[in-house]
Structure formats: structure tokens, C-alpha cells
Amino acid sequence: MTVVLEARNRGGLPFSVILGEILPAALAVALLALVGIIHVTSRVLVVSQGYELSRLDAQSTELLRENDRLKLELATLKGPQKLESVARSQLGMVTPPPSQVFHVRK
């Protein structure tokens, strides 16, 4: 750029005049370029965050499903029919007769 300006300046055009003419245009171009870079960078960031969000969403959904499955399993294992059968057959427990139930009065 300097070479060009110097070449064109052989006619005796002052350098300050040339700078005054070119600089605003150069700044405008630089500003546009900057805005463009920022825009593209932000879009790239948004898309990459979108992928990350999507991954986390899938993970969260899977964890919720696992949680639901475990809750269901727990509820099934705590079913009275199951508990009674385990208590009677594996632990040898029996239903206490009414005379063996004690009430603690406050």
C-alpha cells in the first residue's frame, strides 16, 4: 500500500492528504471485517454449544429414564406380596398373634 501511495505521490500530493482520504475507508473495511469475524465466531460457538446441550439433554433424559426404572424396581421389590414371601420363607418370620402386639401409650 505504501509503495502504491508513494508511486502515486510522485506528482507532489501531500501524504497527509492521501492518509485523510484512505484511512476512513480502511477503518471501515477493518470494522466490517471485525464484525464479520465476531459474527462467525459467535455462530460457531452457538452451534458448538448446541451440540453440547444436545449431548447433555440426551444424558439427562437417559438418567431420568434410569431413575424411573430404579424407582419402579424398588417399588416392585417393596411390594407386600414379595415382602411377605421373603419374610416367611427366607427369614422364618410369622405374623404375631394379637396378644404379642404391645401398644406403647404416650
Binding site: 492528504v17 446441550l53 406380596q81 398373634p97 394379637p98 396378644s99
Partner: protein, 677 residues
């Protein structure tokens, strides 16, 4: 720029040709610009929607997010119904090398109809369901086939972790998670939640890119429903009811447990039961919540309400006596009979032996209008409003004829559901105030907002508190010696109740059949009732009396309910096992001693002096009625014959050890026809 130009050498004056060329070039450029502008207008304005749609199709997909159906809990927060996402298998038939062979292999693994699968595959669609809501085992088996073009989609499936428990109350849902019966149907709007649709950007590889954030999963979660049902009481109620129906060889059974102070339904059981996790193939009859939807002629349990109103109106006192005419009272061309013929009975006696004649005479004092009004005040002939589908209303017709007044006084000639009868008894246990029974205590949405909350609601006062107390006291005699239900008596708690053994109407013969509807409804403890328990057995066969078939189930439920609700005993009972319980000992390794073993031990112990208390039931099968009665009496048993001919079945079974004087029911049938079909 102009200044800059001034410093340049002045250009040569353009020739006219040059000007023309420039003008032509200008025109060409203007024309091109106009063309571009026109094309831009066409694309941006005229074809805007079409092109925008095409672009959207390429980079955007709309995701359907199914709603999460709300859970159903018992009163203590135990889940009774939950939804879990499971895999549903779909197929792209265009990717299958041999659709017929694939259908054959898939049908074997999934247990679906092969022909139906082939039809689906041949429709030319690129998305076909092979089987929805498959199990993990089925997924593994399908994967082992190694077929191309298969995919899995997650779909919510309803599970009932307590299996058959309270199945009739909760109901069930279809494949599309829509309620089909029970509370699942009644609370469909609240439970179902909202399906969501979300736009998602897809990249070139089809991956999801969430550039607009994610939706809160709670936003599509349905509300949760909390019931008044107590899982433990429901379990013991169902267990006792099933045993009672099996023992009585009944067609069906119903049991209702209510809190008389609040009207909360603590248990609502039906037999036969069904597993809502696998409802396929269950007969429609077994799905019916009979305790709520069926209305029966309740029988003698209604005498309690007639007596209560008569006492409340001052028409009778507990000391008022009635001539029960030795068990036979003609009214017009009809005759009313008592099962236990009696002479003069007071009001307590009428209830204790369940005299139809005594109740009819109390009803006569009450009069037609007041009798009907009594039943209506106790909540009969109106829906209780539990919120379950198909709730029965029952009928209390106006007794125009004298015989109708008499029969309605002992619970024949009118209909009521087991829930209504139990709720009416609850009014007696609640100082004469009828409470509205309710099953759902709260409906809360995912954000914690309470959508519905039921609180104890008084319907009306039906009798005075004093009258209610007197009736409850009078009904205690029913479970004592000489009453109709000594089997409902509890050692530690005072029990107040009433038996019912109603004849069932025969719609074909337009009269009454020999089928019975037997029941026992009781309050416990009688001095301050905490629960009212109604047990109803439809068409019992081994024995027909409510005191024999329903009362034992009542006692079993009450014995479990009292410690569970921490109700102190009404009276002290000798506890020989206390000393043993006080000293720590290893847990017993053998199951609870069965009644038969206990009876054998008692028989063996009888060799030292108590042998005359227990007898072995003889085998009377094939005997004529007369011979069977003779042999039963010889064995110190009280025979009861059902039907005529020869003995075809007996209860208890031959060889069973029973107390001396126990009743043995003999079912007789005529000789078989000599010709065969």
C-alpha cells in the same frame, strides 16, 4: 476525490462513439440489474414460503416429546402406578433383504402374528411398527437376529409395581397411555400431561443441535394423584377376601374399609383380581370394580338403619319387645320366615338373631315414608361420588304393598352397592353423621400446585349421636354367643356389626332364586370406631350365612388393621407368650403353625384328658341325605343339607379335625341322568 482528480492530467475529450458505447453499456447493466432485481423479488417474495419450507426441511426437524404420565400413590406415598420409557421396535422394510423371512423371524421372537407383519411390511412405507413397548429380553433377542433396517423408539409404558393390589381402583391404560378404566380413566386429563413439540436443528449427519435451549421436563409431566388407600390394609383386605371367596366357593367378593370419622376409603377390594401389567386375556367380568359398580339386595345389614331411625324417632326403645311369632308371619298371601325361629324378642334380640319378623314389625312402626326417607338419609339411592367410572346408585322403591314394607325393612326389595352399605354403617360409627366417602386425597401438578384436594365432608346428620351410640352397642350382641356372627368376635377389641344373607332375585323366573348374597359389616373398636369393614360374598356355596362366610374375613382384616393403625385394645387379653417374647430368641425357622397342626396337637394332647373337644369329619360322600345326617350326628357334628339326593360335596373336607358340635355343610344332588349327550 474531486481534489484528487484536479491534480490528474485532463482526459481527452470523449468522442461521440465512445459516449454511445458507454451509454449502451449502461443500458445493458441497468437491464441486468433489473433482471436481477426481478429474480430477487420472485425468490424473496413470491416463492418465499415454498423455498423457506424446503430449507427448513433440510436443517430442521420437529421433535415430538411424549408427555410423562403422572404417578398414582397410596396415602403413605407408595407408588401404585408409574410410567417408564421402554423401547418400541420399528422397521424400514425397504432395507430388509427378504421382508417375508424377516417377518417370520421377528414374529417368532416377538410373539406377534407373522401374516400381520408381512402385510405391514408390504405396504410400501418406510416406517412400520413391528411391536410397541417391547421388553428388554425381546430387544436382546431381536438384536441377536442381526437384521438391517430395525430401529428403536422410546415410548412411555405404564407399570403397576404392586401388581394386583388395588387394580380395580387404579384401573389401567392402553398402549397409547390413555386411561381405559378406574382412576386412570377418571383422572385422564390430570394424569396425562401435555405432549410437547420442539423444533431442533439437524446437521448434515442428522445429529440434533439444540440452539434454542431445552425444555424443562416437568413442563410435560402429568399431575400426581394421591389416594386415601393404605397399601397394607389393601393387601390384608384382598388376602382375606380372596380366602373367604375361595373357602365359600363364591362367584365374587367385595370388601370395603372406611375411616368412619373422615369417610376416607382405606381399602377397596374385589375378587376375582387381575394383574393390570398384563390385562390381555382377562375376562371383562374380572375387570369390574363390583364394590362400586354393582348394586345388590343387601339383606339384613339394613336392619341396623331401620332400628336406628325407630330409636331416634322414639318409636321403640332397646327394651321394646316384639313377638316374632315362632319364625313365621303371614302377610297377605306371603309368609315371612326367620332362620332362627324366636318368640318374644327385644330390639337387641331382633338384631342379635337377625329376626326378619322383628325387623318387619319395627318397619311397620316406622311407616312407608319414614322407611324410604331413612334409607335416603343414610345415603342409599344416591351416588357416593368417589369419582370412579360406573358408580352404582342403587334403588329404594316406595313400598306400596304391606309385604314390600316388611321386606324392605330387612333389606330385600331394594338395592345398594357394597360401598353404600359400608358408608352408611360408618355414619353409625361417627356419632350419627354421614360422611362423604372419598378415594382421592390430592392431585398435585409437577410444579407442586395443588389442583384438587379432598377433605372430610359431612353429608348430613342421619340420627342423633345418642341413638348412634345405642345402636352400636346393640350391634355388639351380634358377635357374642347367641348372635349370628360369633366368628367376627375379637379377643382384644370390641366389635359391633351386622350380618346379611340376602336372597338373590332371579330375573328369569321373576322371583327369588336359591342363590345368596352374604355379608358382614362391622365397626371396630365398638367404643370408638376407627374403621368400618364391609365384607360381601356373592353366591357362596359351601355355606350361605354372612356370619359364616364373611365374618371370618372381617375378623382377619380387623386383626391386621388394629395394630397397623395403633389402636389400643379394648380389653386386656391373657398373653401367655409375653414371657417368651420378652426374652430374645432366635427367629423361628419354621412357618406359622397351621390350624390343622394345632388341632392335631390338641387331639394328641386330648389323649391326656381333653380328647372329647375335637372330632374328625367323616367321609359322607355318596351317602343319602338321611344316612349322612345320621352319621354326622353320631360324630357330634351339626349337619346342614343343601339340595336333595346324595352327598356330592362336604365342607369341611373328610378327615379335617374340627371342634365338637361344628357345622358340616353337605351339598346334595340327584342321581345322574342315565343317558349321555
Amino acid at each position: 476525490m474531486r481534489d484528487f482528480k484536479h491534480h490528474q492530467a485532463a482526459p481527452d475529450a470523449p468522442t461521440r462513439w465512445m459516449r454511445l458505447r458507454v451509454s449502451l453499456l449502461g443500458v445493458v447493466f441497468v437491464a441486468l440489474l433489473l433482471g436481477l432485481f426481478a429474480r430477487a423479488v420472485n425468490l424473496q417474495i413470491h416463492q418465499r414460503d415454498k423455498l423457506a419450507g424446503m430449507a427448513k426441511d433440510q436443517y430442521q426437524r420437529e421433535l415430538e416429546i411424549p408427555a410423562r404420565r403422572g404417578d398414582i400413590f397410596d396415602r403413605r406415598g407408595t407408588p401404585l402406578a408409574q410410567s417408564v420409557d421402554v423401547d418400541s421396535l420399528w422397521v424400514d422394510p425397504s432395507l430388509l433383504p427378504d421382508p417375508k423371512d424377516a417377518a417370520k423371524r421377528l414374529s417368532k421372537v416377538l410373539g406377534v402374528d407373522q401374516k400381520e407383519l408381512v402385510e405391514r411390511f408390504m405396504k410400501g412405507k418406510r416406517f412400520v411398527w413391528a411391536k410397541r413397548q417391547v421388553t428388554q429380553t425381546e430387544v436382546q433377542r431381536v438384536q441377536a437376529l442381526g437384521l438391517p433396517g430395525l430401529g428403536y423408539a422410546k415410548e412411555p409404558r405404564r407399570f403397576y409395581p404392586q401388581r394386583e393390589l388395588a387394580a380395580h381402583v387404579i384401573g389401567l391404560v392402553g398402549t397409547d397411555s390413555h386411561g381405559l378404566d378406574g382412576l386412570e380413566l377418571s383422572f385422564e386429563d390430570e394424569l396425562s400431561g401435555d405432549e410437547a413439540r420442539r423444533a431442533s436443528v439437524r446437521d448434515a449427519k442428522g445429529r440434533k443441535v439444540l440452539t434454542h435451549g431445552v425444555e424443562d421436563p416437568l413442563a410435560r409431566q402429568g399431575a400426581s394423584v394421591t389416594l386415601t388407600i393404605d397399601r397394607h390394609l389393601q393387601y390384608v383386605t384382598e388376602k382375606a377376601l380372596l380366602k373367604a371367596v375361595d373357602d365359600a366357593r363364591g362367584v365374587a367378593g367385595m370388601a370395603v374399609v372406611l375411616d368412619p370419622k373422615t369417610g376416607e376409603v382405606l381399602a377397596l377390594a374385589n375378587a376375582p383380581r387381575f394383574n393390570p401389567n398384563a390385562p390381555q386375556g382377562v375376562p371383562a367380568d374380572a375387570l369390574r370394580n363390583r364394590a362400586v359398580t354393582d348394586a345388590f339386595e343387601p339383606g339384613s345389614t339394613m336392619k341396623a338403619f331401620v332400628v336406628a331411625r325407630a330409636l331416634d324417632e322414639g318409636l321403640v326403645t332397646p327394651a321394646t319387645t316384639f313377638d316374632c311369632e315362632k319364625g313365621r308371619m303371614p302377610i297377605g298371601r306371603h309368609v315371612i320366615n326367620d332362620t332362627h325361629p324366636s318368640g318374644v324378642l327385644d330390639v337387641r334380640g331382633v338384631l342379635q338373631v337377625s329376626s326378619n319378623i322383628g325387623a318387619a314389625k319395627v318397619g311397620q312402626r316406622l311407616g312407608r315414608e319414614r322407611l324410604v326417607e331413612t334409607y335416603q338419609r343414610f345415603g342409599f339411592a344416591e351416588r357416593a361420588g368417589l369419582g370412579l367410572p360406573g358408580e352404582a346408585k342403587g334403588v329404594v322403591p316406595f313400598p306400596k304393598a304391606e309385604i314390600s314394607l316388611a321386606t324392605q325393612s330387612f333389606g330385600q326389595g331394594l338395592t345398594a352397592s357394597p360401598l353404600q352399605v359400608t358408608a352408611a354403617f360408618a355414619a353409625l360409627g361417627n356419632g350419627g353423621v354421614l360422611m362423604k366417602p372419598y378415594l382421592v386425597s390430592r392431585v398435585v401438578d409437577a410444579d407442586g400446585l395443588v389442583l384438587l384436594e379432598h377433605r372430610p365432608t359431612e353429608v348430613r346428620r342421619v340420627v342423633s349421636a345418642k341413638t348412634a351410640r345405642v345402636v352400636v352397642e346393640l350391634l355388639e350382641s351380634v358377635v357374642e354367643k347367641g348372635g349370628t356372627a360369633p366368628r367376627a368376635r375379637m379377643d382384644a377389641y370390641r366389635v359391633s356389626g351386622k350380618t346379611g344373607t340376602a336372597q338373590k332375585a332371579d330375573p328369569v323366573a321373576r322371583g327369588y332364586s336359591d342363590k345368596r348374597f352374604s355379608s358382614f359389616v362391622g365397626l371396630v373398636p365398638a367404643e370408638a370406631p376407627r374403621v368400618v369393614i364391609g365384607v360381601f360374598i356373592d353366591e357362596p356355596k359351601t355355606d350361605v350365612y354372612g356370619g359364616l362366610v364373611a365374618a371370618p374375613a372381617f375378623k382377619e382384616i380387623a386383626e391386621a388393621a388394629m395394630p397397623h393403625l395403633a389402636v389400643p385394645p379394648s380389653r386386656e387379653v391373657p398373653a401367655p407368650a409375653v414371657a417368651a417374647a420378652a426374652t430374645p430368641s432366635p427367629p423361628p425357622l419354621v412357618p406359622e403353625k397351621s390350624p390343622v397342626v394345632a388341632a392335631i396337637e390338641r387331639l394328641e394332647a386330648g389323649a391326656e384328658g381333653h380328647g372329647d373337644e375335637v372330632v374328625r369329619v367323616p367321609n359322607l360322600s355318596g351317602h343319602s341325605g338321611r344316612a349322612a345326617v345320621k352319621e354326622a350326628l353320631t360324630a357330634s357334628l351339626e349337619p346342614r343339607l343343601v339340595g336333595s339326593g346324595r352327598v356330592v360335596s362336604q365342607s369341611p373336607a373328610a378327615g379335617t379335625l374340627v371342634d365338637k358340635g361344628a357345622r358340616i355343610t353337605l351339598e346334595l344332588a340327584g342321581p345322574l341322568p342315565s343317558t349321555t349327550r
